[in-house]
């Protein structure tokens, strides 16, 4: 029907396909007026370099819901956000999750061209932060934030922003420890050189040993202290974690070295000690190094506005939503979220509950109706009376209900190993001690410590951090961002996958209205567009937006019957759009869809239908063999049969009309029957299910905006690789087991040397770093190799 769509045009600003209407300006195509406006703003400020650094770097404004920032005028609220202020300037940090490329950095660091009052702007890319300093006498915070939102970077505000400790303080400590351990390790090796070369002992050897000892103590005191602390606390708690055998090994190594240096005049194992701690710290750093500062723990507070407009006797005032009390009257404007359950006072309101229920169709309610927190107002501003406080509202209780997650699997594994490992090692050491005791007491003690040293689980301790650390990095590059290495273990065990429908299996921005009836001519399309443009009703607006190649005509006798439909005369033709009873005139007859009548003839209807994501059918088909698949949707049954077909009839459970609590309960039921459940969803209505499931993966359409609390985030297009991610996770878990086997093998070899009393310093010096290094090498190479060998699906994106 549409020839224009044959050639794909992408937006010059944001790079998305121009689906509806193409807007041209200066021979550049834009997908919406929002993108065009941003382009005009940017080019008028000499900032065109933005488009030269990266191809189509902009952020699509089509789906972006512009928040209102009027509450920033309230000084008390604004002061919460400001870092520093004096007479001439204000410093502030904005969290801008949309930052995604070098063009973003360039544009934001040239922010002074858009707002001359800005004196300093610096982007912190990994943290997605913008540091700004501006002259508050020239521009106020609200205008500043408005400009940021206008160019596509609306800041994300959290009340807890100022309170959350920076992740970097933990990171800094580790980096410092690494520095100390590296420094000492290098110098100790240097001072041990005469020993390695087997040179004759001279006066210097006493000095070297003394220096080694000092450096060794520095390592113990500053770099290894965390291991001792962790081991101590876990022993006090009555169980042994992985740090216990490590600490025992370190202490045995230290004790043996001191004994050798002071009583035998030998050099000891200080170099091995420092090297061991250095490698352990590298492993820790490798695992902890945050891929990016994506927050996985968003609560409802991250989704709700910080403030809302309260109607008081003295006029409207913005107050923090926590201060809302039952009975307060609030005013909500177009596109604002309802902060707490409330009753409508205005005559009627249009609401978008897609966050709460997943139902993408806007609903209309009348005066006295109950409004649920999380709904979004569409259309004009409304008044409402608060019925429940924010923390007691329907949606926010999802968070109150969910239990904190169980102990992580890594902790469990390492605790198991720690427990048995320590026990076995001590038993073996005692056997060695007793069997040598009769023949040679001195040798017996030497064997005892040698066993403790050589059996130190450093190789085992390095296995998980390096394998999973690298696996996380590889998955991240392929599009799945995981919360921790733990998530990958859990992913490997998944048996049952539960999907949400709207926004997960269907595209969120996909235009949801489908025309049913005889094909509309250009002339008729123009009539419809002209009429529907007049109304603010969301359905009317959607219809208008769906018609691109048409003309607009002036309208006479425009009439809108609230909640029923619209009518008018367009260039002599009488056009009606609305519910079936409105169009047909038959009272009380209900038929689904929005109907069209032109000149007395009913031509057809638009119905609400969401299309599955491209390629999702193939993905689900591929996964049917291995997993149980289910669909839980908050939407109505409209296309139930279609989804049953797509999921395959086998054992799939397809449920519609699911409230957020139903979803959570279903997941719980699956888990009670012993299944490991992966939930894939988006939006607030899945928040409970995402938390309850063993692994919750949230879909984010762009730059992880609006991802609820979860274990992993995947960008919409990358969802098609889900089976590959799972396959990779299973592979990575297997590699961890292989790594364990190798480490055990090393230990067996080492122990056989130690028990025979044949453990010369040379053997230890070679065996210990060799086992660690070879295991690190194995972890890195094998995970990388597996990534190459996996057929990463069709990379059609």
């Amino acid at each position: 029907m549409n020839v224009l769509k044959a050639t794909k045009t992408t937006c010059y600003h944001c790079g998305e396909d121009c689906q509806d209407a193409i807007i041209w300006r200066e021979e550049k195509a834009f997908c919406c007026t929002g993108c065009k406006t941003v382009y005009e703003l940017i080019s008028s400020c000499d900032l065109e370099t933005y488009y030269e650094l990266e191809q189509q770097p902009g952020i699509s404004l089509r789906s972006e819901l512009m928040d209102s920032y009027e509450w920033l005028e309230e000084d008390a609220m604004a002061n919460e956000l400001i870092d520093f202020q004096d007479e001439t300037q204000t410093q502030i940090r904005f969290s801008l999750p949309q930052i995604h490329c070098s063009s973003c950095i360039w544009l934001l660091e040239h922010f002074d061209r858009l707002q001359p009052a800005v004196t300093y702007s610096r982007v912190d890319f990994p943290s997605k932060l913008l540091h700004l300093a501006y002259d508050h006498r020239q521009v106020d915070l609200k205008t500043l934030v408005g400009t940021l939102a206008q160019i596509g970077y609306p800041p994300e505000f959290h009340l807890q922003q100022s309170e959350t400790p920076r992740i970097s303080t933990i990171q800094k400590r580790l980096i410092k420890q690494l520095g100390i351990a590296g420094f000492c390790f290098g110098n100790i090796m240097l001072l041990s050189f005469p020993e390695y070369l087997g040179l004759e002992k001279g006066t210097y050897s006493v000095l070297f040993s003394a220096l080694n000892l000092i450096l060794g103590f520095i390592v113990l005191r500053y770099a290894a202290v965390d291991y001792f602390q962790s081991a101590y606390y876990s022993l006090m708690g009555g169980h042994a974690n992985m740090d216990v055998p490590i600490s025992i090994g370190i202490l045995a190594l230290t004790g043996q070295s001191i004994y050798q240096i002071f009583f035998l005049g030998a050099p000891g194992y200080i170099d091995s000690l420092a090297g061991l701690i250095f490698f352990l710290l590298i492993g820790k750093w490798f695992q902890q190094k945050s891929l990016d500062n994506i927050s996985f723990d968003r609560t409802f507070e991250s989704f709700f506005p910080l403030a809302t407009c309260k109607i008081t006797d003295t006029g409207d005032r913005y107050i923090p939503i926590q201060e809302l009390r039952i009975g307060d009257r609030i005013r909500l404007k177009n596109k604002e979220l309802i902060p707490a359950d409330a009753t409508l006072i205005s005559p009627f309101a249009h609401l978008d509950y897609s966050f709460v229920s997943g139902e993408s169709r806007p609903v209309e309610v009348e005066k006295g109706a109950k409004l649920f927190a999380g709904g979004r107002i569409i259309g004009g501003s409304i008044e409402a009376q608060v019925k429940k406080e924010v923390s007691n509202s329907y949606l926010t209780q999802l968070w109150a209900r969910t239990q904190p997650t169980n102990m992580s699997s890594i902790q469990r594994i390492s605790e198991q190993i720690g427990k048995y490992f320590t026990l076995i090692v001590i038993v073996i050491a005692c056997i060695g001690l007793l069997s040598w005791w009769q023949t040679d007491v001195e040798k017996a003690i030497q064997v005892f410590t040698a066993v403790l040293i050589i059996a130190c689980p450093c190789a085992i301790a390095l296995n998980i951090p390096f394998t999973m650390g690298n696996a996380r990095r590889i998955l991240w590059k392929r599009g799945l961002i995981t919360r921790s290495a733990d998530t990958i273990f859990s992913l490997a065990d998944i048996q049952h996958i539960v999907f949400d429908k709207t926004g997960t299996l269907t595209e969120r921005n996909q235009f949801p209205l489908v025309w049913e009836g005889s094909a509309l001519e250009v002339s008729n399309r123009s009539l419809v567009k002209s009429l529907t443009l007049q109304s603010q009703h969301p359905v009317s607006k959607s219809i208008a937006a769906s018609i691109s190649d048409s003309y607009t005509f002036p309208i006479n006798h425009f009439h809108e019957k609230e909640g029923k439909g619209i009518s008018g005369t367009v260039s002599g033709n009488e056009v009606q759009v609305g519910s079936y009873s409105f169009v047909s005139g038959e009272k009380g007859v209900k038929r689904e869809g929005t109907w069209l009548k032109i000149e007395g003839e009913i031509l057809g209807r638009w119905i609400h239908k969401t299309k599955p994501r491209k390629g999702i059918q193939e993905l689900l088909h591929r996964m049917q063999k291995r997993f149980v698949l289910s669909l839980l949707s908050g939407d109505s049954h409209a296309d139930e049969s279609q989804w049953k077909d797509i999921l395959g009839s086998s054992s799939a459970i397809v449920r519609f009309h699911q409230s957020p609590f139903d979803k959570l309960n279903m997941i719980e039921r699956f888990q009670q029957s012993g299944e490991k459940v992966l939930m894939v969803g988006d939006g607030l209505n899945d928040a409970g299910a995402l938390q309850q499931s063993d692994v919750g993966i949230a879909i984010a359409e762009d730059a992880s905006y609006f991802a609820p609390a979860c274990d992993g985030i995947v960008l919409g297009k990358q969802l098609l690789g889900l089976d590959q991610y799972l396959a990779y996770a299973r592979g990575a878990a297997k590699l961890v087991s292989v790594g364990f086997l190798i480490a055990v093998l090393y230990n067996v070899i080492g122990l056989s040397f130690a028990l025979r009393g044949a453990l010369t310093p040379l053997v230890t010096a070679i065996l210990m770093p060799l086992s660690s290094l070879s295991l690190i090498g194995f972890a890195l190479v094998s995970t990388q190799l597996m990534a190459y060998l996996l057929p990463w699906g069709d990379k059609s994106h």
């Binding site: 000499d46 070098s102 890319f125 970097s168 800094k172 980096i175 420094f183 290098g186 110098n187 220096l211």
Partner: protein, 57 residues
């Protein structure tokens, strides 16, 4: 042979100096953002003048 005591002293002093330089860098926040500075350095500083000349003759 006594020279070696002196040399060892110097070498430790030098290495210690580097260690403190490293601490200073960590404290200064150089390890917090290890990406943006690398991008920033590639931007032309003078482009504003060029483009205004081209844009408004």
């Amino acid at each position: 042979m006594t020279a070696i005591f002196l040399l060892i002293g110097f070498s430790l002093l030098l290495a210690g100096g580097f260690l403190f330089a490293f601490f200073w860098a960590v404290k200064d926040g150089q390890y917090e953002d290890d990406f943006t500075p690398a991008v920033r350095i590639l931007y032309d500083k003078s482009e504003r003048n060029d483009s205004t000349q081209q844009g408004n003759p």
